[in-house]
Symmetry: D2
């Protein structure tokens, strides 16, 4: 921790701070520079209330030296975390291909998509039963009925299920039916939800918030790990920027950057990141090329009839083409499904 | 609704869309332009699934003509909504001054701040009992104990209480103790929470999400109104941008813009918007000057000892100075406390 | 300057850096923390090549302690800079009201607007002769002819002229005709232009770039001052964000923040910041309330016929109403025109 | 073009607009909807002054149907543009590998880097002689002397030269020495510069502005084409967002999106996009995987001694490793150097 005093702050202000830090068992080292006094503090930075220091008289700013997360950090655990979901070892050389419609709409719809996908070797089925929608008049999901459909269809095709939770009160119901719980972008900082899924052992697919920094993204994962659940898969799904030609801006550098900072696996969602069918394949290729551990793509038997996200869902046949077209890249990076 | 066909899309594609729209009781008007065919659609736009249309063959894009919200719209209700909280008529000429610490920390702390504030005429006390914190190791609030302290201290000083809800399961407890429920920025799109507070009649202080557009902000309010609760007070609290000198970027044009679009009152939070003590007073003045219906400011008896947001909380005495210094602006706009 | 070494970096790497810094006459102080070694460096930080240090083996990051600008800093010059333009002392208690059309379109248009504005007491006339337009097919300005019109009309009404420069080769022509040179948002980091206007003594109205940080904004001003011209007036004109309801996002906290960091005057451009006529008056009030030294507003005798920015220009009569309506705020902050 | 009238606007306002449009030879079609009147306009949209229409009484907003650019559009020219620079056919199956230091610092430095790069098969050498720097105290380049060094070193190794222009007055000097002219991100909307390079026939490497939309990016290219120079190579180099872990946010979806919208080639700059050595290789792989026509990477014989961008420049040996490691991706997409 580095405390920068204001230009011209009287030495007594620095002295008071130094005394206080010493009293807390920390080791403050004052440095008298040309323009400012700086106090370097040796000790466990994460235990220090930065705001308190910033509020003290004479302090201009306080700068952290270390990242504020611990359990998710690669400094805490060097080897990558591998999470097994239905035989897919996410975080290993095996890539996770997760696919399915935006929302569960009917037994027929799910059966159509699951039978197609399972034949292509997809082992994890996605679909929302509880839907977070921007406006109250949009389709909000089939809820418990959707969970039942999802489970029975997935069982029939030996697939695992990942589905989104939007309310802590649904946790038990979802845990019973799903193999992996998705925390959506809008809930990445729903801390009560993070704590609750942290209290289970279910794999959690944690999507990056629309405007979350990478630090906040990893701190959200830290909430889950610190509550006891080590099974977190991160998901980069695009951030909000000034650019409106795409639904979001897919920040792919997040993939290698997170791999430098954390041991957790990270996959990419090119459907939500772009919002455009034609961009899904090139962005999937790019994601795999730069080291993503997999992808989650929206596939619907009849996209134009979908009750949500119609314009970004692929047909099973389009998805099959994508799987074929990305194979050379998968081979090039020495990975497999 | 305007449907723009791709350049060179065969006329049969437009014809198919036109048939479908007619079958749904809408009135499509095809326009054959130089470069593209455009289909203008007359009818209730909010009932149309835009994604569905965008996903049809030959469609380049679909453009909305009207705003997607209805109940919050000024077109639905011309006269401003006024919400009475402890005698403060929010949305009228009377300005709402809401103040108090970031978090309830103890009976003593709350007593100190409430007794000071009530003497200055502040009628609404803010303080968090349940705290949404970026990292899991930060102070998470006193929870139910905090609510009790907040209530008893407020009662003693004849103040109303506004406090944040972060978990739907706390709704009953909060409704019992609070006069106004705050939905924080990170929960602006926690739709289950919006529905639940929408099912009460408590005034709701709805803060704008960090990266929410004004349309999304108003749609979040629409969730509350459409569930039966008309008592929503909007709060602009800064958005996330590339600029890091301030904690957020206070987008003050939101105030007059929302007043053009909606009948709901809107206040400003200069504490979170700036994150810097010295900027709170000038931004409060600016907010009042451009038509805000009030403000919410963090005040702590001893900011440097605060367990959260230490660097942006004012002392009661600093807040008293602020109240004095903003008075000429309050007078200039013809308002009062 | 603080150099943070990577966790586990061998001590020899820190030792090498320390030797190098000493050889350069700096005073490095190594601090051996729990997780990392940190080297605090005492000496003139602005002379150190940060990139060089960041590139050395074992270095995780380098953190600056002081701001990289000097001449524009309030630490260099405590008293505010006041710049006299046609009797308007910009930066003093006297507010600068700058108005006029987006572009010079004809003698008649300029005469109409100047005669109206001068009667209202406006002493500085704005209008572009050289127009930076997003697309090549838009009106690019009357160029030299526009300058001549601008000058003769302004002289007739005893007004000063501010006009934009978009090409270094026009500097002489503009210096001959204008009293203040505007550097537009798109040229804020056109460093050659900054150096050239820095070599004159003309007052420079420097607009903030669309995505410039406040630090970059002040560094752009530092270019002008360091080339010998102390007469810089800053202008906050909105930044680019995800929000599209307004043309830009007016970041008004820039005003008091810049006043804490710099001695230069700062005005606000509510026309470009909002792009909407109805928001200009409230944002002008807000700007004055939070301490702006003036404003620049687009006024056109017949806005709907304007060749550029038609939708955000006020008529002279609308501007007159604005001037009347803002007067109570002007009085409230103890300023005058 | 679609004109949306305000709710409740009197029919006479629409009638006036319709008359005006007809008088201009356009074909307005009024549509009387439930909530609003909409006027669809058939005719050449690019010739209409949108601002004028927006400023007319009763108009709520005006929506464009077609893109505002023409010459760069794929609708104007279906086949991809291929630009030959020193035998590298940019835009074809052949990938452009452009490398070299941030700045020309000396004959020795350039000789070292060029001899290494040419041996690896790199045919286009980059280096800046005129440097746009954020602050005035940073190294500003060797200018004409730098150009001479660049040319003579490149000639010795049979390489082409790309170098940045920052001032129109340097155009002749640069045209004499360089084979391709770079317009940097900060000058993407320096329209006078665009016009001048548009008047030459030199290939232009046009970098996307920090906060330029894709539409603005293509309009900048349109400036060059409309002035007569068809040889434009676009370069995605990252945009400015709230995320600060990387220098910029590399928006890779720009690559396939631009290929849908334009016939111009597009390459990627992973050095500036990330600002971190370790991210350059993964982002180069991702760029090639999603269809980029090449890349431009900073390589310096001794990065830590570089006078600018030290932390993001690779050594020749690191670059050699990158070239080897990306080869499987290059093969996978069926391209070659």
């Amino acid at each position: 921790m580095i405390i920068v005093m204001k230009a011209g702050a009287p030495q007594t202000q620095a002295a008071t701070i130094i005394e206080e830090l010493k009293a807390k068992g920390l080791q403050p080292v004052p440095l008298f520079g040309v323009e400012r006094t700086v106090i370097a503090v040796i000790g466990e930075e994460r235990d220090i209330n930065v705001g308190h220091l910033e509020a003290l008289p004479g302090v201009e700013k306080v700068m952290r030296v270390v990242q504020p997360f611990k359990l998710v950090s690669i400094e805490t655990k060097k080897e990558p975390t591998i999470i097994n979901v239905n035989g897919v070892k996410i975080g290993s050389k095996q890539l996770a291909a997760i696919a399915g419609p935006c929302a569960v709409e009917s037994e027929e719809q799910m059966e159509a998509v699951a039978s197609s996908l399972s034949k292509m070797g997809v082992k994890i089925l996605r679909a929302g039963a509880f839907k977070p929608r921007t406006g109250p008049y949009a389709f909000q999901g089939l809820k418990e009925e959707g969970l039942d459909i999802l489970r029975s269809v997935a069982d029939r095709h030996h697939m695992a299920v990942v589905t989104e939770i939007v309310d802590v009160r649904d946790l038990d119901a979802i845990c019973k039916k799903a193999d992996m719980i998705q925390i959506g972008a809008r809930n990445m900082q729903n801390f009560e939800l993070l704590k609750e899924v942290g209290a289970t052992q279910k794999p959690v697919l944690l999507k990056r918030g629309l405007s979350a920094t990478i630090e906040e993204f990893l701190l959200a994962a830290e909430y889950i790990l610190s509550n006891g659940n080590p099974n977190v898969i991160l998901c980069e799904r695009g951030i909000r920027t000034f650019e409106k030609e795409t639904r979001n801006t897919l920040a792919l550098a997040t993939v290698p950057l997170v791999k430098e900072m954390s041991h957790l696996p990270i996959i990419v969602d090119p459907s939500h990141a772009t919002g455009k069918k034609s961009l899904i394949e090139p962005m999937t290729k790019a994601a795999i090329a730069c080291g993503a551990d997999g992808f989650i793509i929206e596939v619907h038997p009849n996209p134009s009839e979908a009750k949500s996200d119609a314009s970004q869902q692929l047909t099973p046949s389009e998805f099959e083409t994508l799987m074929k077209n990305i194979q050379p890249i998968v081979d090039a990076v020495g990975r497999h499904f």
